[in-house]
Structures are given as structure tokens and as C-alpha cells.
């Protein structure tokens, strides 16, 4: 289902449908639940579905590039923090010594995490870095 600006803010229009990673909905995340030890950080993480809904809303109000960022973000939700930081590091100038290193990271994103948009984005970076000589050694 595609969301529109009428669904915004989701936390107010459909709080029951806004859930964390383990399916706990917004109204269930109370202070008492936290004190009872029933809420973990994982319950406080955004889901790909919520990001997709925000992407729909952004597109509906005329912000296509913001929507694309939310969609790239949706793909990264399940990617472990360490791998995200590793890829970020690799994308910085001179970290990757060749196009192949970036293409390998893109392949992992695509094959392991089904992060297709992210993969293409990294490939585009690889192509640019090659054209601009960014695979040089930086001391």
C-alpha cells in the first residue's frame, strides 16, 4: 500500500501499525514496559516498512530525492553496523585502492542484504572514483 501525505504523521494516524523490529507497536512501548524489561534497543529501531512509508509520503509531497534516500536507508536497516561503517570507510577518498574493492562491497550489499539500490550507488561511486583518479594512495 502506498502512503500519502494524508497518512502523515504515521505515529498519529496509525500508531498501532508503527512497530519496531520485533513487532512491538508504538502504544505498547511504555515506561512500564521498559521497567519490566520488555523493551530492548531492537524494539526502538525503525523498520524498512516505516522508511518505505516515509519515502511514499516524501514522493507525494514532491521530494523525490528525499524519497530515494529513505529507500536506500530502508535497505540498510538490516545491514550490521560494522559493515556499514566498513563500507563508509571504503567510500572515503583513497581508502579503496581499486575499483574492485568497491565492486566487491557492492556485491555483498546486493547478495547478502538484498540492498540493490545501495549496490548500484556504490558501483556508481567506483566508476566515478576511477574516472577522477581517487584510487590513489593517500599517506
Amino acid at each position: 500500500m502506498t502512503h500519502t501525505r494524508a497518512d502523515y504523521p504515521l505515529a498519529e494516524t496509525q500508531p498501532g501499525a508503527v512497530t519496531g523490529k520485533h513487532g512491538k507497536a508504538l502504544p505498547e512501548i511504555t515506561l512500564d514496559a521498559v521497567l519490566a524489561g520488555e523493551v530492548t534497543m531492537e524494539d526502538l529501531r525503525i523498520t524498512p516498512q516505516a522508511l518505505q512509508a516515509q519515502a511514499d509520503v516524501a514522493r507525494d509531497v514532491g521530494r523525490p530525492t528525499l524519497a530515494l534516500n529513505f529507500e536506500r536507508g530502508a535497505e540498510l536497516v538490516e545491514v550490521p553496523q560494522d559493515f556499514i561503517m566498513q563500507v563508509y570507510e571504503l567510500l572515503r577518498p583513497g581508502r579503496a585502492k581499486s575499483r574492485e574493492e568497491l565492486l566487491e562491497a557492492a556485491a555483498t550489499m546486493r547478495d547478502t542484504y538484498q540492498a540493490e539500490r545501495i549496490a548500484r550507488f556504490i558501483e556508481e561511486a567506483a566508476e566515478t572514483y576511477a574516472a577522477r583518479g581517487l584510487f590513489t594512495f593517500r599517506f
Partner: protein
């Protein structure tokens, strides 16, 4: 002989002004010192082939640097580009300031415009037009503001107290950073806890190293980030150790963690980094902003930022900062509009810098107003700091403009600071991180800045900070600790902020939280279409803005006068002897007093007892062997007419008129009412010796002499701003007692000679 000097002394005076600490740079495009245009700036242009951008501002695709590439692929909308680029720039500039051209139309066109085109359009606007266009084009209707909360010791108790006060002043976002980078975790916990005192919904960021910042956000302590910097030339970008792709990847990573994010860019950074390519500041900044829209970030911290002080040294630099902010909002980005780094030592330049933003409104007027004192600001001093925050509150009231802040009563501030300090101390104790003493806590509650505190020092803080990090303490632990120690409301508030990340509603453009609800460009879009539309200060909000401290009203003036009534009764008695007669003796000088003199009002604005003032004048007249007769007039309260009426009654033809506030005049029987002999109009600086001299001169005139007129020396004090509100209220009390045709009354004065 007056010696000849080698300079006009006015220049020596000017040398002492704070302004002369500012340095100014010559316009020099070849070396990057040009605000709006440089011979090296490209002409706007675009080529589209098969839906692909094959040339951009005169550069062919195979020559694109990485910034051109990113803009061509991710910013330019090929479906709009040909139409938008074909428009005459002057026409588009006019549309920006035409209230009848809707924002959406202009935003759509911006999607098809290149950096050179955007820069060319906004360059056509003068400063006033830029401010107006900014007001019309900014994304969210309701304005907001952001504060810096830091201190020179990284003291978490003070951070918590200062965060709580910043929240109470109404800041929508607070931002911290550290003196010592390993103290980041402690700063984050302290501000998160302090920011949860009093109300919930203030977003919080901890500016630190990129990876660390993301980890702190993951632990739930922060809710937004804005230090993702981008640059306008390829070399400065790589020197900044990033590329558009690495930054865009980071933007997606923040979104994936449900954390609000904006980029940072501003004029002058490329110039500071030495890779400006001889381009103008505005053109480079237009590139940065197109990049940011292409990256898909919701907003930008923009308007010079760290480069603002350098930009302000260049001719037109401050106008350029406004112009780049306009491009940001035209591109539909949330704009935290700079006004943070202090770009001048001149308070006049500070006030001039902030005013357009205050009256135009902005998503975040300052991307960091110093809510703390200058020396405590670990980002460097802001344009406006804790020292001047009250000036800003008054500017809001003066212009009836909503700058996002609300005056905070002193008692409430203390209450909140106590609560915040107790809350963070409880969390530290509960988690076994530190046990702050009562003395530490008390010193912080009442401290204006860290010079006044005896609290945790940077080294103590490092142990706390590293323990938080190593033990993997998260916001859930902190919420529990708060609740377990009786800070249930703060625990709820903190949890509410973390819950924002579940729906991601606050990831949309220009999102902030007001009264527990999301307000963003989606549900609060700027709908300005002329007077009566867009953001208006509601009556309720206007009353809030008005409510600064120490406001005078008539009740307050009468209350303070009543305090003096009893005291004055010990010094003087007035006895009404009935209608005053015309004097005939040559030695008769009349002192005409005003209707409320000694009856409702008892002190001059300089604070002298009226009995002392009268006594001084009478003594001086008598010292010349003349008689001083006191007459009360009730037909007028005007000084000139009091004096002239007194002169007409006096046998000598010389009278003194004096109002209760102390304004006095020497008059002569046959003169025009306002053509007096001597006027003492600056009552607040008129001393008893002047009243004595006034009496002496009146006597001299009565004796036919020509004395040296008395000059009450003044040093250019803004007497009106200091006294006129009180004077107007006092004078209304005088005029309220006047009665047309009321006859003058002879008054017998008894000065008791009592010591105060």
C-alpha cells in the same frame, strides 16, 4: 597653545571601538575573495540527451569532476531542466519576490536548475528582497531555533542544567560538543537527561567524529546529526576526507537508524581549505546545495557556518550568506540558517546580522545560538550567546517576530536547573558512574558559567564517558535509572524522544516537535501568499513574547512611590493656605510646583527627595536676601507653564517651575511660554547642587544680574530609553490631577530638617 596633531582624534576614538577588532579583506576574485561573482564562475547552461545530463554549466560530461557528476545524476531533473534553464534569470528573480507566485512552482523549477543558474538568479536580489524571498520560500511555516549546550570543563552536571534551561527557553534542538573528544558519551548522556526536564520533544545532537556520532545515536542518546559536511570543489571535498558518495551513504545510514540528519555547508570553507578554484563564494555554495538535494538529505546547516567570519570580511559577504540560505530553501531543504559562528566583535553588526532572519523566520534561526556563556562554548562563540540572549528576547518583542524563544522567569530557571542536576546525579549514581557531592550540585545550579562551578573536571568526565561506552550503556538503561530514582516524568520524556525514530515522521523535511506533536514541512507547509498568510504570531504567542522581565506599569510606579510617601512625611509638611496672591515686592520669587508634587509623587527621577530639592532652591534664593514663595498650580502640569505662571505671580517677575519628576525651568513674566531663561530638562542626571544653582540663578535674575546659565553635564546617556516609560506614567499621574481653571494655591512648607 594647542599643539597640532597628526590625526583627527575621532579616528583615535574609532580605534577603541570593538569594530576595529574585525578585519576586512579586499575583493580579489583571483584569490577567492569574491562574494557573488567571479570571472572564473561558469555561465549557466545545460545539455540533455536521451534524459541524460550531458553538459552542466559549460562542462561536458566526460570532463565532469565528481561534484558535477553527482549533481548531474542526482539533483537535476531532466524533465524540468530545459524549461527551467531557458527562463530569464531576472524573471525568475522577480517571481521569488512575487507573493502571487506560489512556492511550489519555484521549487519545481529549482529541480531543473544548475548551480550557476541558481546563483545567477539570487544575485539579482538586494538584501531586503533576499530576506523577503527567504520568508516566502522556507519550507516549514512555523519558525524554530537551535542552541549550543557545552561548557569548558565538559561538566555533565552543568550540561544537564544548561540543557534544561535551553529547553525551557524554547529551543527546538540542542547541540553539544566536547573539549576532550573522549568525553562524547558523557556529554551525550548529560544533555539527553537535561533535555528531558520540563517538557519533551527537544531534539539533540552530539557533534563528534563521524563513526562515534553514529554509535552514540545508535545507543539512543541523540536524535539528530548535522555535521555531515559537503564542499563545493573536488579538492576541498577530498581534503575533507569524503566524497559526495561517502556522505550520501552516511545520509542513508542515518535514515536506516531512524535518526534525523542534515548536511552542513557554507561559504568560505573552500577558501579556508585553499581549494576555491577562484570561484565566487555563492557559486561554490550553490554547488554544495545542489549536491545536498541530490543526496536526498532533508536539510542543511548553511549560511557560512565555520566560514561565516571569513565571509563577513569580504564586500557583500553578509548579503551572500543570506543569498545562500535562500538557495537552500528554494531547493526545498530545511535550513538551519547559520547565525552561529560569531562573525564580528561589533554588537551593531551582530544585531544587523540577526534581524533579517528574525523577521523572515527560519526553520532554525541560529544553527546554534550560544545558550551558554561565550567562554563555555566549545564550538567557539556564537553570534548571540548566553550573555546576549535577553537582547534577543527583546528583539522578538520589539518586532513582534517569533524567534522561537520564550522568556523564562528566574524562579522557574532555578527550579529546572535543580531538577536537572539531581536527575543526572541520580543516573550516574544508579549506574555506578559517579557520585556528585552536594557542593558540586549546588555550585552548578546557580552558576552562570563554568568559572562559577566546583564540579567534575575533564579528567573525571573521561572516566565516566569511557565507562558508558565500554559497558554499552544505552538510553534504556538511563530511562530505567531515572524512573527508579523517582524521575518518572523525565524518564517518560526521554523515552518519547527515542520513540520518534520508530515511525520516522521526524525524518521528513524541517521536522521538529511542538507540544508533543510533529510539525514539519509536510503537515505545516509554508503557505505564504501575501499579507495575512504564512506564519503569523498569534495573540497567545504575542503575549508570551511580550512577557520579558521588569516591565513597568502604572501600578508598579504608584507602588514604588507609596514606599517613599512615609519617608517623605518625616521631612516635609505642605499646608494649603488658599488662593495665591499676586506678589508686589521686588524680592518675591515664586516656586511653582506641579499638581502631584509631594501629594502623590515624592522623588525626582534622579531619586532625590522633593523636600531636599525644594530646600536647596529655597536656601539659595534666601542666601541672596530674597523671599521664596511656594505656589501649587493645578491648571497645568507642564514645566514651561508652571514656570511662566510662577513668574507672573512673582513680584520680581521671576519664577521657577518644577514637576515632581524633577524637570525644572526658570521663567520671566513677559516671555513666551517656551522661551524660558533656563531649562533643566534632564531630571535623571540633575543633582542637588544643580537645583541649588538654579535657585541662585533665579535670585540673580530677580536682582537684574546676568548669571552664567547652569549646564547639567550629560555624556550621551540614552535618557529616553532609561526613563521615558516611567516618566510617561508619572506624568499621567500629574495630568490626571489637573483641572481647567483651577486657581493657584499658596503653600506653606515646613522642612523638618530630619536626617534621612
Amino acid at each position: 597653545m594647542t599643539p597640532k596633531l597628526n590625526r583627527w582624534k575621532r579616528f583615535a576614538d574609532w580605534d577603541e571601538r570593538p569594530l576595529r577588532l574585525d578585519k576586512f579583506a579586499a575583493e580579489d576574485p583571483a584569490n577567492g575573495f569574491s562574494a557573488f561573482s567571479s570571472p572564473a564562475d561558469p555561465k549557466p547552461g545545460i545539455g540533455i540527451k536521451g534524459g541524460r545530463v550531458v553538459s552542466l554549466d559549460g562542462v561536458l560530461e566526460h570532463d565532469y569532476d565528481m561534484i558535477d557528476r553527482f549533481i548531474a545524476r542526482h539533483h537535476i531533473d531532466p524533465e524540468v531542466a530545459l524549461e527551467a534553464m531557458a527562463l530569464d534569470s531576472a524573471t525568475v528573480a522577480r517571481w521569488l519576490v512575487d507573493m502571487n507566485v506560489p512556492r511550489e512552482k519555484l521549487v519545481r523549477l529549482a529541480h531543473g536548475m544548475t548551480p550557476a543558474k541558481l546563483a545567477e538568479v539570487v544575485s539579482q536580489l538586494n538584501a531586503l528582497e533576499i530576506a523577503f524571498a527567504y520568508s516566502k520560500m522556507r519550507a516549514r511555516k512555523t519558525p524554530g531555533n537551535q542552541a549550543h549546550v557545552t561548557n569548558a570543563k565538559d561538566d555533565p552536571l552543568q550540561l544537564a542544567a544548561d540543557a534544561a534551561t535551553a529547553v525551557a527557553f524554547g529551543f527546538d534542538e540542542i547541540e553539544t560538543t566536547m573539549r576532550v573528544s573522549r568525553n562524547a558519551w558523557s556529554n551525550a548522556v548529560a544533555c539527553a537527561v537535561g533535555g528531558a526536564v520540563g517538557r519533551w520533544g527537544t531534539l539533540f545532537q552530539c557533534s563528534s567524529e563521524e563513526a562515534e556520532e553514529l554509535r552514540i545515536a545508535m545507543a539512543g542518546f541523540t536524535s539528530y546529526a548535522e555535521t555531515v559536511s559537503v564542499y563545493g570543489t573536488e579538492k576541498s571535498f577530498t581534503d575533507g576526507d569524503d566524497t559526495p558518495w561517502s556522505k550520501a551513504f552516511l545520509a542513508a545510514a542515518y535514515a536506516s537508524r531512524g535518526v534525523k540528519m542534515r548536511c552542513t555547508s557554507g561559504a568560505g570553507s573552500e577558501l579556508l581549505m585553499g581549494f576555491h578554484e577562484a570561484k565566487s563564494l555563492l557559486y561554490l555554495e550553490a554547488r554544495c546545495l545542489c549536491l545536498q538535494r541530490g543526496m536526498g538529505v532533508q536539510g542543511t546547516q548553511n549560511g557560512g557556518i565555520d566560514g561565516a567570519p571569513l565571509t563577513a570580511t569580504i564586500p557583500g559577504g553578509v548579503r551572500e550568506l543570506m543569498a545562500e540560505n535562500l538557495i537552500a530553501v528554494w531547493l526545498d531543504l530545511e535550513c538551519a540558517s547559520g547565525n552561529d559562528a560569531r562573525s564580528t566583535e561589533s554588537e551593531i553588526r551582530v544585531g544587523a546580522k540577526i534581524l533579517p532572519y528574525l523577521i523572515a523566520g527560519s526553520d532554525l534561526i541560529c544553527s546554534g545560538m550560544g545558550s551558554i556563556l561565550k567562554y563555555d562554548n566549545s564550538f567557539n562563540p556564537s553570534l548571540i550567546n548566553g550573555e546576549e540572549l535577553e537582547d534577543y528576547l527583546v528583539l522578538q518583542r520589539d518586532f513582534e517576530a517569533d524567534g522561537g524563544l520564550t522568556p523564562l522567569p528566574e524562579s522557574r530557571a532555578i527550579e529546572l536547573r535543580e531538577r536537572a542536576v539531581e536527575a543526572i546525579a541520580a543516573v550516574f549514581e544508579e549506574l555506578g558512574l559517579s557520585t556528585p557531592t552536594e557542593d558540586m550540585k549546588t555550585s552548578v545550579v546557580y552558576a552562570s558559567g563554568s568559572d562559577d562551578t566546583r564540579s567534575l573536571m575533564p579528567r573525571d568526565v573521561s572516566f565516566i564517558s569511557e565507562a558508558i561506552k565500554e559497558r554499552g550503556i544505552t538510553v534504556i538503561d538511563v530511562v530505567k535509572a531515572l524512573a527508579n530514582r523517582g524521575f518518572r516524568e523525565e524518564a517518560e520524556n526521554l523515552l518519547n524522544v527515542v520513540k520518534l525514530r520508530l515511525s520516522g515522521d521526524y525524518l521528513q523535511t524541517s521536522a521538529m516537535i511542538r507540544n508533543g506533536r510533529i510539525v514539519s514541512a509536510v503537515n505545516d507547509p509554508n503557505d505564504y501568499l501575501g499579507p495575512g498568510s504564512g506564519y503569523r504570531v498569534s495573540e497567545e504567542r504575542r503575549l508570551q513574547l511580550n512577557d520579558i522581565r521588569d516591565v513597568l506599569d502604572q501600578k508598579e510606579v504608584l507602588r514604588s512611590e507609596a514606599l517613599h510617601e512615609k519617608d517623605e512625611a518625616k521631612h516635609i509638611r505642605y499646608r494649603n493656605l488658599g488662593p495665591a496672591a499676586n506678589g508686589s515686592a521686588k524680592d518675591d520669587v515664586v516656586i511653582g510646583i506641579s499638581p502631584a508634587f509631594g501629594l502623590k509623587l515624592y522623588r525626582t527621577t534622579a531619586g532625590h527627595r522633593l523636600s531636599e530639592v525644594l530646600g536647596a532652591m529655597i536656601d539659595a534664593i534666601r542666601a541672596r536676601g530674597l523671599k521664596a514663595r511656594v505656589v501649587r498650580f493645578r491648571h497645568t502640569a507642564d514645566t514651561s507653564f508652571l514656570g511662566l505662571s510662577a513668574a507672573r505671580l512673582a513680584g520680581s517677575g521671576i519664577g521657577i517651575g518644577i514637576q515632581a519628576k524633577g524637570t525644572a525651568v526658570i521663567h520671566q513674566r513677559d516671555r513666551q511660554p517656551h522661551n524660558n531663561l533656563e531649562l533643566f530638562s534632564n531630571a535623571p542626571i540633575t543633582r542637588l547642587e544643580h537645583y541649588r544653582a538654579l535657585g541662585a540663578n533665579a535670585a540673580a535674575y530677580a536682582l537684574g544680574e546676568m548669571p552664567e546659565p547652569i549646564v547639567v553635564p550629560q555624556r550621551g546617556e540614552a535618557m529616553g530609553s532609561r526613563y521615558h516609560a516611567r516618566v510617561a506614567l508619572i506624568y499621567a499621574i500629574e495630568t490626571g490631577l489637573t483641572e481647567a481653571g483651577a486657581a493657584p494655591e499658596e503653600v506653606d512648607i515646613t522642612l523638618t530638617g530630619a536626617k534621612s
